[in-house]
Symmetry: C2
Subunit: 410 residues, 2 copies
């Protein structure tokens, strides 16, 4: 048993998570896009809880909620996000925020604990308007021009309009005070099945993979689906389908052990049943924590595209939309999480990279950062059926709060 | 030379076609969806021209324009349609209407000509609201319930609303008077490259292919594109792409010499770059004039779908949305077109099936029908760049009018 057992209130953690699910509920998940009424109510709910943890609450000009402490001693920043993907799960984001809140509630008033936990809910981690706009704003990587240009990817509404409607227009954006924090800790559901299938309780994140995203466009010839013989067609949709299959056949020989790739969207133009598509577009993503692997795969992809164009039926163009460097998690943080797991989760932890992007990768650019995962039932995520067992949620909270205490006590 | 050379006015035909292009022009084509303002103005334009050909004009309660003659003797019905696909070509439809108008202008006032040509512009051949609603209404195959249920496939607007806005609500729908016509003749651009590549002027249509259309749906498992390992994915989009490629690999061994098949639309659900598609859907179409070929291919398709489902990663369901029996063109009409081609196009004609659907297939269910094609430049159609050379347009008009005269004189 550790010297100072953190008095985590498991029932309170579960109750808070369920309260947040009640705001914008959809089936057993939530629909809480950035700056929606449900999202804003969630931010207010959090801001009202923070004083219970001895924190001063602020909702800044980009929708970040920050709770700061006047307590002397080291400060650890902890948090996650409160908006969701459309019609998605209830834990992706809120779990990390409620753990951070619980850590602050347990540690900050404790006279035996060193320092304080400060809480953050970063706005728009889910990327309705961009990529990690809230945490990137906090580290100084978002300009006013970026905000001027940002639009809701679903509705097309400008971010300025959304900020105005949310009552945030004109507020200052909070910026990190360099040197204030010993680092940043974030908890999240795994969103995969490694923990569940291994009978494990805690994932100790070693790195967050980089994401490379491409728009791949095929140009053929739009024509009538009844009168154009098969032999003379230049069907951009068929060329795209062949390309997807080729990727699936050829990537495995060059990828790393944990590389993943996904075609998430396909659009045929004009998209009518009686017209041969003259143009087709796919959004394609590769993730890995080794840039050399990405480089190899991107070379392969460009070669495949050139081959299709050389055959002359359709031309292929590739546009790189996003390049994400992988982020390494701090070794000391990994060690603290592992020690807390030994104390509160019977040591049932494993070190693993994160295949998903998280705000921790942004904070890692300016301070030591760490992440821990709890199991996801069936590995399901970004879907309303996403879930984690109550016992796993409570164990995760205990490990999280103990890890915070250990980091502050170093 | 024939006995009664029809005095086709080629300049007038070209001028009329260009006038119609001017109503709803888009680049060198038109954007004239059914019941759009441009479509309605085109119908009015035609109705105002019909009296010049001795015809009484009527726009009926479904948007058909009909010009009827009081002249004694046999009547030949001729026409096509005036609306277009979205952002499409200028000749698909108007060519056949202007040829019919020209035939009526030349033949009806001619005391040496037997009988009269009556003119029709059938509404919504392009299927914005359904399939051949105008011509099917005329032959008695559209109920009031069908109209209640019809919606614009682009905007979702109901057909009732569109009819009301077009000022057609409450008008009677015209019905065929059985026995009135010796048959129906329609001209159209080929929408393929057989005539152009063979240096030919006229296609004598033997049959109009049937269209079978399917919705094929793949169900997998929606999941996070970063955290779900490749080995455990159930990617519905990838299953769909493999299916498209399999169709392309396997259909050629079982299809007929002129079978065509097309995947015109693909939708991945939810369609986000960071989410593995849990559901994917394709609209798939097969066309042939031999129902036995279709049956063979449909069997193959169902077998392929069952194979995919049996492998267990994704399940496939196939729904047949549309079954179109092929329509045979009348032998006497084919002969008359061929004779007219010999007289006015140097005999440069070929018998060929139509891969596209046309109103003639609907009229063929109640009267002898025929069709002739003129060349399409580059075979391009259902695209704003669709075109036919002026000389070919005029030759087509001469053959069309002579064929009308021959049919009426039989």
């Amino acid at each position: 048993m550790p010297d100072h057992r953190p008095h985590v209130d498991g029932a309170r953690v579960l109750r808070d998570l369920k309260t947040l699910r009640g705001i914008g509920v959809y089936k057993t998940g939530v629909h809480k896009p950035t700056f929606s009424e449900a999202h804003m109510r969630s931010l207010t709910w959090l801001a009202e809880r923070l004083p219970e943890a001895g924190l001063t609450a602020e909702i800044d000009g980009i929708g970040n909620v920050l709770g700061t402490s006047a307590k002397p001693g080291p400060k650890l920043l902890a948090g996650s996000h409160l908006e969701s993907q459309n019609y998605a799960g209830w834990l992706d984001g809120p779990l990390g925020v409620v753990y951070a809140l619980e850590a602050a509630r347990v540690i900050n008033p404790d006279p035996n604990a060193t320092g304080a936990v400060e809480v953050a809910a970063w706005c728009d981690e889910e990327g309705h308007f961009g990529h990690f706009l809230g945490s990137r704003s906090y580290v100084g990587a978002v300009s006013e021009d970026d905000i001027d240009a940002a639009r809701d990817r679903s509705s097309g509404r400008t971010m300025r309009e959304a900020l105005r409607d949310a009552g945030l227009a004109g507020r200052a954006r909070a910026s990190v005070e360099r040197g204030r924090h010993i680092g940043y800790l974030e908890a999240h559901i795994e969103q995969g099945s490694t923990l569940e299938s291994g009978g494990l309780s805690i994932g100790v994140v070693t790195s967050i993979v980089g994401i490379w995203q491409y728009r791949i466009t095929f140009e053929g010839e739009q024509n009538h689906a009844g009168t154009t013989r098969m032999a003379v067609r230049k069907d951009a949709g068929l060329a795209l389908a062949r390309f997807c299959v080729d990727i699936d056949d050829r990537f495995p020989s060059l990828c790393g052990p944990r590389t993943v790739w996904t075609t998430g969207r396909i659009t045929l133009d004009p998209g009518a049943p009686s017209i041969i598509p003259g143009r087709a577009e796919m959004l394609f993503q590769i993730r890995d924590d080794d840039p050399r692997v990405i480089e190899r795969l991107e070379d392969l992809l460009r070669g495949m595209a050139a081959d299709v164009s050389a055959k002359g039926r359709c031309t292929v163009t590739m546009e790189r939309l996003r390049t994400g460097a992988p982020a390494m998690m701090d070794a000391g943080f990994q060690h603290a999480i592992e020690a807390a797991s030994a104390a509160f989760a019977g040591g049932k932890s494993i070190r693993m990279p994160s295949g998903a992007g998280h705000d921790a990768q942004i904070l890692a650019t300016i301070m030591p950062s760490g992440m821990l995962f709890v199991p996801s039932i069936g590995g399901i995520s970004h879907h309303w059926s996403e879930n984690t067992g109550d016992a796993d949620i409570v164990t995760g909270a205990e490990v999280f709060v103990d890890a915070c205490r250990r980091l502050l006590a170093r």
